[in-house]
Symmetry: C2
Subunit: 251 residues, 2 copies
DNA sequence: CGCACTATTGAGTATAGTCAACCGGTGTGG
DNA sequence: CCACACCGGTTGACTATACTCAATAGTGCG
């Protein structure tokens, strides 16, 4: 029986038996995740520091605001949202994370988790003990540089969202969101034109600074224009160019 | 005569003579910048890789969108804005940078500058060749960890702004902006209650997703409520608690 | 089967944007 | 040295966009 890392009574986190150890060398996300550009022997070293995999059920927290920071998490399967919970109970979503993306980078600066990570569906992550990762970065320049690129990409992405939030109207925000998701799914090898939203209208609204009603109305409008087809969370993009079009007219 | 690093005909960048080489060991920002927590001999090593200092006049660009990425820049004196210029000429501001803060972190991921950095006043930066910095990070664990903290802090800060932009009304946005600036000036050893805005109303508006008129009206309102006193760009915070108060009521 | 959750749609409203006039300071050229 | 233009800022009137409140319906789970 494996130990339940970080498990707290209220968090139904399911540990994966140690025998099914994480292994970058046999992972299909190799080319999207940390190991990008490493030699087999280097990937071997990376494998050795990844302590375990960890499953998180839909709706459960991988970590919570205030938890001490020790690990980064690479999403292996599923999807997460990170949420900022204020005292009064209202929650704001700061990000969505899909396979191959790294969770917890913001916590390095504070030594504690600043947000809570909640699984949007049954998910699994690889646990990366950060201290040991830093050691490895010192040994493997290619890994070091790639890690810096990953952090940098996070900064870029956040600044991109800032531009969207600060400069675009509701329809352009939603359009940018759909295009971004589409690209990320395409990167993962899924269809860019047809995918399943992992989140509710309310969660999209929270992320984009809109109300759920506005998101719903916009989906209806996009649908009416013939730009998308949408049925609950299944979405098909019919006119990519039109979607691109509305984000161009930023003022 | 020193060479003009990165200088392009249209960019009036002024190089500082090599004799006045950058030196962390004698810099007053030591405790805020890269050298935090390093031993004298380690700071010595850092000094050696900093190729030069570089002055940038008010309104001039330190770098521009599309420039190849080679260096990070630590602001030594003055202030910068980073701007995203769209084809039609409109510009959106993605960040403000004060002394001790690092410019260019977003470019690591793309190998090119994603934004342009423009000096808000006559300014000076230390030039940090990134390749050599990465080498040094491999040698000095304390520097490595601190660098990761700096990148992480950038991510945190961006996500904080996302929360502001996505979740707050105009008055709360401006209040959060003032409080943030106040803290940053306090960190630098300046007064937290009284400082000079380095940017125009339009630039603040661009950053916060508001129009310059709204920013102006809000300054007038805050002033009328007795929360601040403001004269052109000189601002004095009279009631910090009241300012904090309006950002609490986030829905 | 019923309840809770998610989503859609409508009606009225508030917040911030747009357009415009005006003011004061600064710098430039006749 | 003064006139003028320009820039940054303030304020007003009107308007549009997205929010709030509310009613209704479809889905899925216990």
């Amino acid at each position: 029986m494996t130990s339940y890392r970080n498990a707290q009574p209220t968090i139904p986190v399911v540990a994966v038996p140690a025998s099914i150890k994480a292994a970058c060398s046999s992972c299909s996300l190799q080319e999207l995740c940390l190991p990008v550009g490493l030699s087999p022997s280097e990937i071997e070293k990376l494998d050795r520091i990844i302590s375990s995999r960890q499953a998180t059920r839909r709706g459960a927290s991988l970590y919570r605001t205030g938890d001490p920071f020790r690990n980064l998490y690479a999403v292996r399967a599923g999807a997460f949202k990170t949420v900022d919970l204020s005292e009064d109970g209202s929650e704001k979503i700061t990000g969505f994370y899909l396979s191959g993306e790294i969770l917890g980078l913001d916590a390095i600066s504070t030594d504690r988790q600043n947000f809570s990570a909640v699984a949007l569906e049954d998910s699994e992550v690889c646990v990366l003990p950060f201290e040991r990762l830093e050691e490895l970065l010192r040994e493997i320049p290619a890994l070091q540089h790639h890690f810096h690129k990953i952090m940098s990409r996070d900064i870029m992405r956040d600044q991109g969202l800032m531009l969207v939030l600060a400069g675009m109207k509701a329809d352009a925000r939603l359009s940018a969101f759909l295009i971004g998701l589409s690209q990320r799914f395409a990167n993962l090898g899924y269809s860019a034109m047809r995918f399943r939203l992992r989140m509710t209208r309310e969660e999209i609204g929270s992320y984009l600074g809109l109300t759920l009603e506005t998101v719903s109305r916009l989906f209806s409008r996009f649908s009416g224009e013939g730009w998308i087809r949408i049925d609950r969370r299944e979405i098909e993009i019919l006119d990519f160019t039109a979607l691109r079009g509305i984000i161009e007219v930023r003022e």
